[in-house]
């Protein structure tokens, strides 16, 4: 099934109310340096494109770039790493976000119940922990609140390691936004917001991948 690029995935979901961090697209090193300056250092630089789905595996993500020189060097390396089969590529400049907690959210197609909204505990152990909640599209805010309350790892949502409690309202808005996107756009058969980093209590989707029906 075809997937959208990270930038297009975010644009599609953002149109339905899913909030994303302030990000810019650039096409060369100079553009990336300018975008990074506007966003504020440190930044993350990624190579994006409709045909690029596994950026991390291919080493196409550069983290914590602290000044113009670092951004320019990373931009040059990433553009050089593009392969012919990647087609048209761009540079994605995003703020470097940190948080101790990671969640995941998404849309999945169930063979019996159709489109569902998913929320789970993220991070490298997410699959083993399998602490997730599902609801059928469409959901109301109250369903989103109940999804959060249903997760077993409730301590993650309270004050945690010096960081404030998770902003549940923001998280509910994000889940409802996902649901709205699936409801409005029948081409969507899947979406992953992974990870959703909890930054000062606020869940922020730093990556997005939308799958469309073929």
């Amino acid at each position: 099934m075809p997937t959208l690029s990270e930038a297009d995935s975010k644009a599609l979901l953002a149109a339905h109310g899913v909030a994303f961090p302030d990000e810019r697209q650039a096409h060369d090193g100079q553009g990336a340096v300018g975008a990074a300056a506007e966003i504020g250092h440190p930044v993350v630089l990624k190579l994006g494109g409709a045909a690029i789905a596994h950026k991390t595996e291919r080493g196409l993500v550069r983290l914590a770039l602290g000044d113009d020189a670092a951004v320019a060097a990373a931009a040059e390396e990433l553009l050089a790493a593009a392969r012919p089969e990647d087609g048209e590529v761009h540079l994605l400049v995003a703020p470097m976000l940190r948080g101790n907690r990671e969640l995941i959210a998404g849309l999945h197609h169930d063979p019996q119940f159709g489109m569902t909204v998913m929320l789970g505990v993220g991070g490298i152990l997410a699959e083993a922990v399998a602490d997730v909640a599902f609801r059928l599209v469409p959901i109301e805010p109250v369903d989103g609140e109940e999804m959060i309350a249903e997760l077993a790892t409730q301590r993650l949502f309270a004050d945690f390691r010096g960081e404030p409690a998770v902003d549940r309202t923001a998280l509910v808005e994000l889940l409802v936004g996902l649901s709205r996107a699936a409801e409005a756009d029948e081409r969507i058969v899947g979406a992953d917001l992974n990870p959703l980093i909890v930054v000062d209590g606020r869940p922020v989707a730093v990556d997005a991948l939308v799958e469309l029906a073929s």
Partner: protein, 491 residues
């Protein structure tokens, strides 16, 4: 759902003016005999007829060989035990006699290979053509206590009550009905959907939701054909009455078993679980928890909040019940100061002075009714779990059966204990009704000695005596979850 079904069709199934058993047998081991026997033995008051190859009489019931010989418009339901191949002609003849509902117990349909599947498709088309409700095939039967009807191929016939049951597996109709017999909390309707060819579980639940005889719907499902339709219809039912559901095939192993049993497709159980929460369905983890949840909805008011007090006559029970409550969304509250002071006025100083309210054996003649009234009536308390009923009656039973009875004052003390336990059970039910709050009484004596004066009095009050505090807590949690679900959606 078959589009031609109306409430009148379901009334023909559950409240028939007359019943025809097709394929009556004289052999007491055959379904065609057992079903007729069960209809007659359970006090059904409508007219009963049979069909068989040979006309005559079985169990005093007239049996015809030709349906044309039956009266017109006197029969609403045909209970079918004849071989699948004979049924299309049979149903056509029944339709001519004004019969509007059929329950097909016969096997040899969708569960029996390609040929059986073709016959099942034919059956569905015929139901539509004849405008008939055709339940089953390959089902166990239908029970309806308002009509004293037990049209099924196995026991039992349950006590009457307010629970309406629909099951994708006939065995669980028996299991639920056995729980009804055991607990005394009865049933209004029960139907095994069999292969659910033309009438599905949601069709029955939808009827129950508007049925005057039913307050709670209870369903066993292994899988659903159209998940979206199931969700929409279950949600609509759950808005009108509590819907308790237990699903077989919740694990990988169970799903493999379900695929071979009812051919049900596997969905991720977490999706099914989320669907239930979204629809306001009470999903129970086990068959007994499902029946106990349904019995609780049928006999207790919904709590307004989650603040629970445990009243116990001994410490250990209170401790494990506190543990059980702490694992739920229920709140084992700190005792309000005014309630503590009021209890101080009724109890000697050795009581726990907190929640659980442990009387520590400090009770005298009127303590338990008085204390129950204070706790249940307190505005800061939403629900009460009461433990310790029946212990003295258990001692009384030992005394009554021993060689010293009735001398040495034993007769007098035995009577006193049994009177007191009955009184405590009534006090719990009365306080629950007076203050419109759930009060759940739990003791294993409900299983050990159902005739113990305590559990027996709980049954007599129409309520469930929970076999353990943990099971009472699980049932109460289901009640609170429904109340909470409604509250947050009414905002």
């Amino acid at each position: 759902m078959s589009t031609h079904l109306t409430p009148a069709h379901f009334r023909a199934l559950f409240e028939p003016r007359g019943v025809l058993v097709a394929g009556v047998s004289t052999h007491p081991g055959k379904f065609g005999f057992v079903s007729l026997h069960n209809i007659l033995a359970s006090g059904y008051e409508g007219t009963v007829f049979g069909t068989s190859r040979e006309a005559g009489e079985v169990l005093g019931t007239p049996v015809v060989s030709d349906i044309d010989a039956l009266p017109d418009d006197a029969i609403d339901l045909v209970f079918v035990c004849t071989p699948a191949a004979a049924n299309p002609d049979l149903l056509r003849a029944c339709a001519k006699k004004g019969i509007r509902a059929a329950f097909i117990a016969s096997a040899g349909y969708g569960e029996a290979g390609v040929e059986g599947q073709a016959m099942q498709a034919e059956l569905v088309a015929l139901a539509e053509e004849l405008g008939m409700l055709v339940a089953g095939p390959n089902g166990q039967g239908v029970v309806s206590t308002p009509a004293h009807l037990c049209a099924q191929i196995v026991a039992p016939y349950p006590p009457s009550g307010r629970i309406g049951i629909a099951s994708q597996s006939g065995n669980f109709i028996s299991s639920f009905l056995n729980y009804a017999v055991h607990t005394g909390v009865g049933v209004s309707r029960a139907v095994s959907a069999g292969n659910a060819a033309a009438v599905t579980i949601p069709d029955f639940l939808d009827f129950y939701a508007d049925d005057d005889a039913t307050d709670v719907a209870l369903a066993y499902v292994e899988g659903v054909q159209d998940g979206r339709a199931f969700f929409e219809r279950a949600l609509s039912v759950a808005r009108r009455m509590p819907l308790v559901l237990v699903k077989g095939g919740a694990t990988d192993g169970g799903q493999r078993a379900a695929a071979s049993h009812t051919g049900s497709l596997a969905s991720d159980d977490r999706v099914f679980d989320g669907m239930c929460r979204q629809a306001g369905i009470t999903r129970a983890a086990t068959i007994e928890a499902a029946y106990e949840a349904a019995a609780t909805f049928a006999t207790q008011p919904l709590p307004k909040g989650n603040r629970v007090v445990v009243l116990t006559t001994a410490g250990g029970w209170g401790v494990v019940t506190a543990d059980a409550l702490s694992r739920t969304a229920l709140d084992l509250i700190q005792l309000p100061d005014d309630l503590r002071a009021a209890l101080d006025g009724k109890l000697p100083p050795r009581w726990s002075r907190n929640n659980p309210v442990d009387l520590a054996g400090a009770e005298t003649r009127d303590t338990i009714p008085d204390v129950l009234d204070l706790i249940v009536g307190h505005p800061g308390v939403d629900a009460v779990v009461y433990l310790g009923l029946g212990i003295q009656s258990n001692q009384a039973q030992l005394m009554r059966g021993g060689r010293f009875y009735p001398d040495h004052g034993l007769e007098r003390i035995v009577d006193y204990h049994e009177r007191q336990d009955a009184r405590f059970a009534h006090a719990a039910a009365e306080a629950s009704v007076r203050y419109d709050k759930p009060v759940l009484t739990a003791t294993e004596l409900a299983v050990t000695h159902p005739g113990n004066a305590g559990p027996a009095a709980v049954r007599a009050s129409g309520r469930l005596c929970y076999p353990s505090a943990n099971r009472a807590v699980t049932a109460l949690e289901h009640l609170w979850e429904r109340a909470r679900h409604q509250q947050v959606r009414a905002r």
